[in-house]
Subunit: 505 residues, 2 copies
């Protein structure tokens, strides 16, 4: 086992260089993904086989059938082929003609430089109507409360070890959120605090006045106050979990291969909810100021959670890994010497005498983009990965991954936004080579070149951000103006204007 | 079980009011603490039995024997009796005459208003010399590296369910830190990065040059860089754990009853390390600006850690508790209805159908100062509590408590400090009724009334802070000028001046 993992890791960590393959994704050959790539449903984009005049061989056509891009790109078969071209890496955006994305949202994407067969990022942008279920209290619905709710939705899904999970999430996650919100339609529109308890079944005796649903008798002197906002957060959290469970259920039938990071924005009743599971990132640029709206979940940022789990459930380590962290690999000849280590409780380092079981491979190792859980995967939250196992082993990695997002809330009504205030979402292809400050500078530079009421300015900005991260082909690689390497990863960017959502709803 | 815990909680949460007993400590009669109160060693302060002319009955004398105050207060027997007087609540400080505390540190304390027999806070302030062990590399010590290290140390220990743990920690925790640093004396004084690996035993062949101790061959492409600072953090973290383990070992022989929060400051080689386990607090006030140096660890702030542990190790819940959180106690008649809940993964709330096991008592319940783990204890980190069990049950609570501090580092050399810049440490008796801003205002008000070079100004400031939190007796309680209730808890405060540590070392 030791040699096996060691050689896998040696491969993983030595793969840096130009042009850079993304070190985040578990390299496919090393992760045992039992099922071949094929989407759970026919993708909405026209498959390449429909392309007229194509001379592509049958094999390519078959492979293309599993490949789709977001429907809002409205790609023709020829456009889809260009979007799938690793050599040209043409930036894709929705066409300037035709229906715009809600709020005049800007979007741009580009495929990777060859690290995976297709672009494994996916995106979704929808306006979703939520019709309430039959009155939750069972009483006939009052007309004033019978209104459904609308939410605006943006999602970026960065796939790894296959595109299936990202594609499935891009098609279905907002439906799960819609489903979770159905029970809340009345409650969220009622200004009084949410009822703590509801009758079991619609139709059961009860009043629709939530305040009557709770018996006043309680052995606690106080009741916790639960806000409307925290109900929406809970709905999004549970939707992520249900999406992940659906992937687990359907992976056999529909062959959902791989996993994905998910970065999702929901706008509902004046508030923006940013939910992140993975290493994508969201920032607001408001009047030039940067407001972080997410943080990344990686083996480094979640080290202590991972180590604690390995410590409490050592059976998950399969006798192959140690939950302790060491600053480098221990050599067998170093047995008995004293090495720096950290356990699940420590943020500092200390020396310990090396014992036999310390020679096991560390659960968490590496630094930065090369950090890995179980020598395999570089992100610790997201959807899917139910088949992911340690190289040449049956040890599952999924127990260490969390499907739960961190949700941050931004109240749009608390500040008067101008047309230059935007929420920028990007997959790690953007952020690996672009700092928050550089993004803010590009926001300023590009938007000031357009009239404030020109709706195409946000697409232009998204394109500028993608181009700035991709660079241009030069010296056997994609390079930025400063001659550093651009991102060889898939890059996807949403630019959501905050200055006037009210007028769009 | 349900009724038993419920009545215990009803007692706990209904005990608010004037004068307020501290809701943090588990009330002694409810926590099964098997051993009577008696110190592990003779306290350094003179016991009351030595008091001349005392007419106290034998019983009181015996109880007093277990009571001590910090030695630096230099209390006479009469002074000790006044410090133990719940009615007068006289503020105690080191005498103006005689040796000052290091750095002219200010200190003040006051006993509680009757919530426990004695003042269960303890404090320590020491200068500790660390002599290196025989050269870690085994080579003869070079003269230039043979110097030991000095660190300055301040500790506040807020006891609960008895004073034994706080007293033991105040006497010994800095010795554990000293012991942990012994191995690091050479390394911390060597400007090169710490060696990752050391030979096993002093005297073994090897060089004293740390860079030679590590074989260059490594299967990882890079080694993690470990800083000197993180070694000190690790030493403090491990010292807390070893202190806690010593309490567990000696609780039978020496009868260490109860537990304590620990807030500790170490100044070493230009940096201030603030380690906090519990709900005491440290802030720096620098040029009027507030810099938080700790955060509190309570059932609310650590809810998800506690719930995760209960979820992963359900046997720790003993079939009596549920790891789910509910906003109020569920009534048996509500079975089948839908109630708001949060699990270990959620920050938002959602509804779930109430099942039989949801009627168990929640692992975490209550809000603010009334929040409790297992209906018993209101702090989730600290030392001791090895005997603490759920009321009328054998279920131990210790597995849910962490002895590990969070350590924050402040580099004193990065900023030129003036004599008005201070680090303020206080037990929750201070912070329950005083905001950070109010403390900063008092810092400004008191220090500006003294000459900058008057060393008594920091003691005056500590006294003002304690008095401001205690208030004065009025309307059947201790009241603040705004007529709100003052703190009825023990209150202890250190004021550490930052403007010139160099001149004291």
């Amino acid at each position: 086992m030791l040699n096996r993992v060691r050689s896998a890791v040696a491969h993983l960590v030595s793969s840096g260089g130009a042009p850079p393959p993304s070190p985040k994704s578990p390299d496919l050959p090393k992760a045992t993904s039992a099922l071949p790539a094929a989407p759970p449903e026919a993708p909405r984009s026209p498959p390449a086989r429909a392309e007229r005049g194509s001379a592509a061989p049958a094999k390519t056509v078959e492979a293309r059938a599993s490949f789709s891009r977001p429907t809002f790109l409205q790609l023709s078969p020829g456009g889809l082929r260009r979007a799938d071209d690793h050599a040209g890496r043409a930036v894709q955006s929705p066409p300037d003609t035709g229906r715009r994305l809600p709020w005049s949202t800007g979007y741009a994407e580009v495929i990777n430089a060859g690290k995976s067969r297709h672009n494994e990022d996916q995106a979704c942008c929808e306006v979703v109507y939520v019709e309430g279920r039959k009155s939750v209290s069972g009483a006939p619905r009052e007309p004033s409360r019978g209104q459904g709710l609308c939410f605006y939705y943006w999602g970026l899904f960065d796939g790894h070890a296959g595109g299936g999970a990202a594609e499935m999430a891009s098609r279905l996650l907002h439906r799960h959120i819609q489903e979770q919100l159905k029970d809340l339609v009345e409650i969220l529109q009622d200004p009084s605090p949410p009822p703590l308890c509801l009758p079991s079944t619609p139709g059961a005796p009860g009043s629709s006045d939530p305040s009557h649903l709770v018996g006043p008798q309680s052995c606690w002197s106080s009741q916790k106050e639960v806000t409307h906002e925290s109900l929406v957060v809970g709905a999004i959290e549970n939707a992520f979990q249900l999406m992940d469970e659906q992937m687990a259920r359907e992976r056999r039938g529909h062959q959902v291969e791989g996993g994905c990071c998910a970065l999702v924005v929901v706008y509902l009743l004046g508030k923006v909810y940013v939910a992140n599971a993975g290493d994508s990132r969201a920032i607001i640029v408001r009047n030039g100021e940067i407001i972080p709206m997410s943080r990344e979940f990686t083996p480094e940022t979640e080290r202590q959670r991972l180590q604690l789990l390995g410590f409490l459930k050592p059976e998950l380590l399969g006798g192959e890994f140690t939950h302790l962290e060491f600053p480098r690999r221990i050599q067998p000849k170093e047995l008995g010497q004293r090495m720096l280590y950290r356990d699940q409780n420590m943020t500092g380092w200390a020396y310990k005498k090396i014992e036999l079981e310390d020679l096991r491979f560390p659960l968490v190792c590496g630094e930065g983009k090369k950090a890995r859980v179980m020598a395999t995967i570089g992100v610790t939250r997201g959807l899917g990965d139910h088949n992911l196992r340690v190289c040449s082993s049956t040890l599952p990695i999924k127990p260490f991954l969390s499907c739960f997002p961190e949700v941050r809330v931004y109240d749009l009504t608390q500040y008067e936004h101008c047309p230059d205030d935007v929420l920028v979402l990007g997959t790690d292809g953007l952020w690996d080579v672009t700092s928050d400050c550089e993004v803010a500078a590009t926001v300023d530079r590009v938007l000031s070149a357009y009239e404030p009421n020109d709706p195409s300015r946000y697409t232009a900005l998204a394109q500028a951000l993608v181009l700035g991260a991709r660079g241009t082909p030069r010296d056997r690689g994609w390079r930025l103006p400063n001659n550093k390497l651009g991102s060889g990863d898939d890059i996807s960017v949403f630019v959501i204007p905050l200055g006037g959502p009210g007028s769009y709803s």
